[in-house]
Symmetry: C2
Subunit: 395 residues, 2 copies
């Protein structure tokens, strides 16, 4: 049987990262390719205790069908948190619980985009999101970033050149893969352009809580007076990705349609997962937990950078993120980046080649992504030494 796939899915290939991760199941490979929270970042005892309480006190509530909008106590809690902690919950906004931020991106794109519509993304951007947008046959237009976020002139050029732009997908904090944070000035400029051109912003903020230096920058959504910004948050990096719990904040009129899309997709998010998130926020000291996470990632990022600076050829540059999980390394112009990544794997170290994150896989890049959250300190030291040796040989 030769299957005829839909146009939107025909060309779509498996996520390069998820395929690389399968290859790095080999325990001898040092993987800087993942994006997983550090094992020590999971509050295992707390979750064990909470889960036992839920299953002892309300097992049928955890096992029965529930409503598509989300488990009401978690929704209420997240509305309050989005209002008071993040400032992203306006009077005309509503909040829905989704099965991870990935589903949030999926639902927003489904509700707003026809095949062929343009979606503007930072270049590079999160490959998981790019693939979701591609799965709607969107026309992805990548806009280059400066050190303080997306280039505003090029963004306006892209908006002018693509009058069918429906959405801008942006990760303003510690962007995946670049580690770049968008300045407040640029957030205001981006919002102004969205308003000028009538385009919705999907603001993805999975890493916002993981700031380990510098000052918080208000979300683009805090500027939203026109219902133009959909804000997407997640429990994946602050509690657990395996539970698959995220949330969307959007204007009520848009949210009504997102709820319909959610019903069509998976009816509702796993209730037990939602209950665990709710109890964790209610019963534990979230600020202290986040402080622990920041300390873990501050140390790991610092270690990776110091090891890179110690061993790498001075011709290889890297970003210096204020939070999150990723560094973005750039080889000298004209370098064979794919060849370098291949050589690295042969020497026992895996990274993700930068082209995986480009709006078009053919967009030129000499960069690759390094993850510091998953490997142990020993592996960071060992892997950076190997990579350093290779950079000195090759560049």
């Amino acid at each position: 049987m030769n299957y005829t796939f839909s146009d939107k899915m025909e060309a779509l290939q498996p996520s390069a990262i998820r395929e690389i991760l399968k290859a790095t199941a080999d325990p001898n490979i040092i993987s800087f390719a993942a994006g997983n929270p550090a094992p020590e970042a999971f509050p295992c005892e707390a979750v064990e205790k909470i889960t036992a309480e839920i299953m002892g006190q309300n097992p049928i509530g955890a096992l029965q069908y529930s409503i598509s909008e989300g488990y009401p106590p978690l929704r209420d809690m997240m509305k309050e948190m989005c209002r008071s902690r993040y400032g992203v919950m306006g009077e005309d906004d509503d909040l829905i619980i989704v099965s991870g931020a990935q589903q949030g991106i999926d639902l927003v794109c489904k509700c707003l985009c026809n095949e062929g519509d343009t979606i503007i993304v930072e270049n590079p951007s999160f490959v998981g999101a790019l693939n979701t947008l591609r799965s709607y046959n969107a026309n992805l237009v990548g806009v280059a970033m400066d050190q303080d976020g997306i280039n505003i002139e090029k963004l306006e050029e892209a908006l002018k050149a693509n009058s069918n732009t429906k959405l801008m997908y942006l990760i303003p904090n510690f962007q995946n893969p670049s580690g770049i944070t968008m300045s407040y000035e640029k957030r205001k400029a981006v919002y102004a352009l969205a308003k000028k051109y009538g385009v919705i912003i999907l603001e993805d903020n999975p890493y916002g809580e993981l700031r380990f230096r510098g000052e918080d920058v208000p979300a683009i959504k805090t500027l939203d007076e026109d219902g133009l910004v959909v804000y997407c948050g997640s429990f994946s990096k602050v509690l657990s990705p395996g539970l698959r719990v995220g949330y969307l904040v959007a204007n009520k009129n848009l949210m009504g349609k997102i709820v319909v899309a959610k019903q069509c997709t998976d009816v509702h998010t796993t209730i037990l997962s939602q209950m665990i998130c709710e109890r964790f926020l209610a019963e534990y000291d979230f600020d202290q937990h986040i402080a622990n996470l920041r300390e873990i990632y501050r140390k790991k990022c610092g270690l990776m950078i110091s090891e890179m600076d110690k061993h790498f050829s001075p011709n290889v540059t890297h970003t210096n993120p204020e939070g999150g999980l990723f560094l973005w390394c750039t080889l000298p112009q004209g370098s064979d980046m794919l060849g370098f990544c291949q050589k690295a794997v042969e020497n026992g170290v895996a990274m993700v080649p930068g082209n995986a994150f480009m709006a078009q896989a053919t967009d030129p890049t000499t960069s690759f992504r390094m993850n510091f959250s998953t490997p142990t300190d020993e592996k960071i030291i060992e892997g950076c030494e190997i990579l350093g040796r290779l950079t000195k040989e090759m560049f």
Copy 2:
């Protein structure tokens, strides 16, 4: 802000049932409108014990990211079960874990259907599936059913009339909403037509284990020598819908694309949910558990039918299902079914009007769906008496 929604989502309204369920949150309303497992059908103690074991022994495994295809021990177990218990796992097939059967339907449609492609469905059919298919802007063509399943002549007419048919969506066992089971002869005929016209069958079997009388009929997938059938199963009716775990079995070449779609949708299904399903199958007597469920639903269905036969006007007919959760009641031709359902709610009893299940909401029907799994025995007796009085007054 006036939002411009995508063409596929523009016209889609919230599921009528989920909206009715919100209305029936009023505890004074007797609801025959749900599709929830009976509260006594949940093996709460077993799940509580299993969950404690998982969180005690492998908390990071439960909380960390995992692979899109599903938790490997559960996948292996379901492959074996699909091979030996259901006969639906061929040599060229693969199996993926999905976030409930609803997601299974979503992913199959996404991979195979362009906007405007025809999907043939039983008329009536499961409204959740219909809405998912609508959310891809599919052209839904409903084919009427006989007492032994879809009308084969009308099915071939529909296939001839719609050369762009990509998919047939069928629920052969104790169909939702009709309660009808497709005969083995018809399953063979349906398969032959799928082969003749080169159309994929999506066989949805959420209720198959809930047979409380009669003999099992082999799945259409057991006939599949050509990679034409995608089989969709679920833990929602045999263990828990809140956990959101289902599975798809399909030819490997098709499954490769489904996995890509799954990555784009929610990365993977909640790991803790998958672990609970796996441990339940491994550590508990599944056959005994299923025997308990069948006994619960045999009694509830029997009670509802005997109460209806006692109280209802003889001009109102109903199906006599061999399993599942639903009965399909039909008022005399020309009756105002919506008016009757409205009157029923005013008298404190909610059902789902039959038009909610029609391929086109305007397809004529004088039927409505009755659920016997969720209400208590007392509510079944009380509600049938009220409805019976109304049927005698009106018909």
